[in-house]
């Protein structure tokens, strides 16, 4: 499974530019499901036909990144954020564009105090010698993502874009395992989650499932002096109770808990005070769709080196399989 995770995290795909990730997943699931289609927004929809309940499983393909807003005469790029970016986190980081152009993020050094740093005071150096030079490599409007590799160490993965390629990997694995079920399963890889849960709603509107689960990452409260949160790395998938975008539907939540207990899958509960998931836009789609979520505990979310535990990843796959077979 690490191989698939590695491929997924290293594929370029900031919000609105998910095509490469979609192509990779399409390739992985070719002939493993009954139907694969892409909708107008770029959501990849993989369908396993069935006569029972229609269950939608959503994992977003897009990752956070930056967008070039201006190229100055010396070839430096000004930029804005695509999704949530902390200026401190990106300082000194490498970013990479779709065509492979590498850049380094730095800042205007004459600011009074480093705590006053803002994205407007930062720029990207792509080693260009002039504006003309830079324009051969990038254009205004081009997006870039973190450049960082994916490492498996001590049963845990350190990588960029685990938010939410790890969710994609889990869904891909669940689809490949082809567990016995009469239910109709929609494995949906969504677009533009990081900029406001934009892809999942239209996908759900087209499918009108009986229930939906969002598979995404969640923060942990197990690092030195961090904000209090009960979720721990390695303690199992976190069943969503609520986040800022959704309160999990009680039937969906209870079904998840029941599946976890019956199958001896370690689990914990997610109450996220910041951030939302695709379930937020799915549950208010059309006449309303009962929705919940499973979150994979992840450290350093929205950083170039996020960390997940493989045991949590494997248990998330198990929990999904139990959920859809019921």
């Amino acid at each position: 499974m690490f191989n698939v995770i590695n491929k997924l995290t290293q594929t370029f795909g900031p919000s609105g530019n998910e095509k490469k990730v979609a192509d990779l997943i399409r390739d992985l699931l070719k002939n493993k499901v009954d139907e694969i289609k892409t909708d107008v927004l770029g959501n990849l929809i993989c369908i396993k036909k069935g006569s029972g309940k229609k269950i939608m499983l959503a994992a977003h393909m897009d990752e956070i990144g930056i967008i070039v807003s201006y190229i100055d005469k010396n070839g430096f790029l000004r930029f804005s954020n695509v999704g949530g970016l902390d200026p401190f986190v990106i300082l000194g980081k490498r970013v990479i564009f779709e065509n492979g152009t590498m850049g380094v993020i730095w800042y205007e050094e004459n600011i009074d105090e480093i705590k006053n740093i803002k994205l407007e005071k930062m720029y990207i150096d792509i080693a260009a010698k002039s504006k003309e030079d830079a324009e051969k490599l990038v254009n205004v409007g081009d997006m870039a993502v973190f450049e960082a590799d994916t490492t498996l160490q001590n049963g845990r993965i350190i990588s960029k874009a685990l938010d939410n390629r790890i969710g994609c990997a889990v869904l891909v694995q669940a689809a490949l395992n082809q567990s016995e079920t009469e239910n109709e399963i929609y494995y949906v890889f969504t677009a533009q989650e990081e900029v406001g849960l934009r892809g999942a709603g239209p996908a759900a509107y087209g499918l009108l499932p009986d229930m939906a689960l969002a598979i995404d990452v969640t923060a942990t409260g197990d690092t030195p002096e961090c904000k209090p949160m009960p979720v721990k790395l390695g303690a199992g998938p976190a069943i969503k109770i609520k986040d800022r975008s959704v309160i999990a539907h009680p039937e969906v939540k209870d079904r998840l808990i029941k599946c976890a207990i019956e199958n001896n899958i370690p689990h914990q509960f997610e109450i996220l005070t910041q951030g939302g998931t695709d379930a937020g836009s799915i549950h208010t789609t059309a006449g309303g769709i009962p929705s919940g979520g499973i979150a994979i505990p992840t450290r350093n979310i929205h950083n170039s080196a996020e960390i997940v535990d493989m045991k949590d990843v494997e248990n998330t796959v198990k929990l999904i399989e139990a959920f859809i077979s019921q």
Partner: protein
């Protein structure tokens, strides 16, 4: 083109604060009836027009919002002065000393403030809070004021359009009468695709009209025609300018509400380049448009925004370049004429594909 500019001027002379767009809508209806196959006004007040295409193509929605920012009368004081709140984003500082027209009868008023002579030195340096401001309609008392205006009346800025300088136009409500004027012009021509021209309401208070128009039209592709921020005036570093007046219509790659569809955006830039029409990218990601609602309505649509740079937007008077306006019409028209060929679409029903 001359007619389009005439339409724009007439449109900016009308009042249509969010929620009361009727004068603008009536004018538009009078201009489009001969050019569309069908039209109707929906419950929220959107004007939805339909123009059958000459061939098979995706269903295309064109959106321009009719409403403008303005004021809402909330209270009539005992001295006959009117308290108000703002409708849409208006900075308190631009209100002082401005002329307004209130309600259907366009009752003239002025937003008054304590004169300089009577202000303390502290007051002179400080900023203005709209709570300190009132509208003076020249009434002697509450009773007289109440005979002319009612609580809940909407007030629009009262500045008529003036052509000036190097092919520039100053007018109120360029956001988004510009889009309305462009859309009227576009509806005069025939296209291969079916066109739904939507003149929407209540954009300025949260993209409300587009939500219902999208639900009715269910477009495959949408072009949003807008007026956008422009800040090419002194004290701005070049990288902080969102757009530059006179450098052509502006295309949005990303803003607060939308990331434009890549294929559609590429189609627009390619069309501009092929036809020698200048264009620019909006260089900031602030602000939002109806595109945000249209993109995620129903099963989703491919969207892009073509916008006219307007200096001093959301103030009583904004400024635009007439060449930009003409180029916006040219570009949008060419984009529509050549639309079906380069866009691939998948639809939910059986993944039917348009090429």
């Amino acid at each position: 083109m001359k007619e389009a500019l005439e339409n724009l001027k007439k449109l900016t002379a009308l009042d249509g604060v969010s929620g009361e767009e009727k004068p603008v809508r009536d004018y538009i209806i009078s201009k489009i009836t001969d050019h569309v196959d069908d039209y109707y006004v929906d419950n929220i007040g959107n004007l939805i027009t339909y123009k059958k295409g000459t061939g098979n193509g995706p269903k295309v929605m064109l959106d321009a919002h009719m409403d403008e920012v303005g004021l809402l009368i909330t209270l009539i004081n005992s001295d006959g002065l009117l308290k108000f709140r703002t409708i849409g984003g208006i900075e308190d500082r631009v209100l002082v000393g401005k002329r307004v027209r209130i309600g259907e009868n366009r009752v003239p008023g002025i937003i008054g403030f304590k004169p300089l002579h009577l202000q303390s030195s502290k007051e002179r340096k400080g900023t203005v809070d709209k709570k300190q401001l009132t509208i003076d309609i020249g009434a002697k008392d509450k009773e007289q004021a109440a005979s002319k205006v009612e609580i809940g009346d909407l007030a629009a800025f009262a500045y008529d359009p003036v052509e000036f300088g190097d092919n520039k136009l100053m007018a109120k409500a360029l956001d988004d009468r510009v889009g309305c004027a462009v859309l009227i012009e576009l509806l005069k021509h025939k296209y291969e695709c079916d066109i739904y021209g939507c003149f929407t309401v209540q954009e300025e208070i949260g993209l409300k009209g587009a939500k219902t128009s999208t639900f009715q039209v269910k477009p495959d592709i949408a072009l949003v025609l807008e007026g956008t921020t422009c800040y090419d005036v002194p004290d701005t570093k070049e990288y902080g300018m969102s757009t530059v007046c006179g450098k052509g219509p502006a295309l949005t790659v990303m803003d607060r509400t939308v990331i434009a569809d890549r294929d559609l955006l590429r189609h627009i830039t390619k069309t501009a380049e092929l036809n020698g029409i200048p264009y620019q990218f909006k260089q900031t990601i602030t602000g939002g448009t109806n595109a945000g609602k249209i993109q995620t309505g129903g099963t989703g649509a491919k969207v892009a925004v073509i916008a006219l740079p307007c200096r001093y937007i959301h103030s009583p008077v904004s400024v635009m370049d007439i060449n930009d306006f003409e180029n916006m019409i040219k570009l949008s028209k060419k984009v529509l004429e050549t639309l079906p060929a380069s866009i691939t679409l998948y639809r939910e029903q059986g993944g039917k594909e348009y090429v």
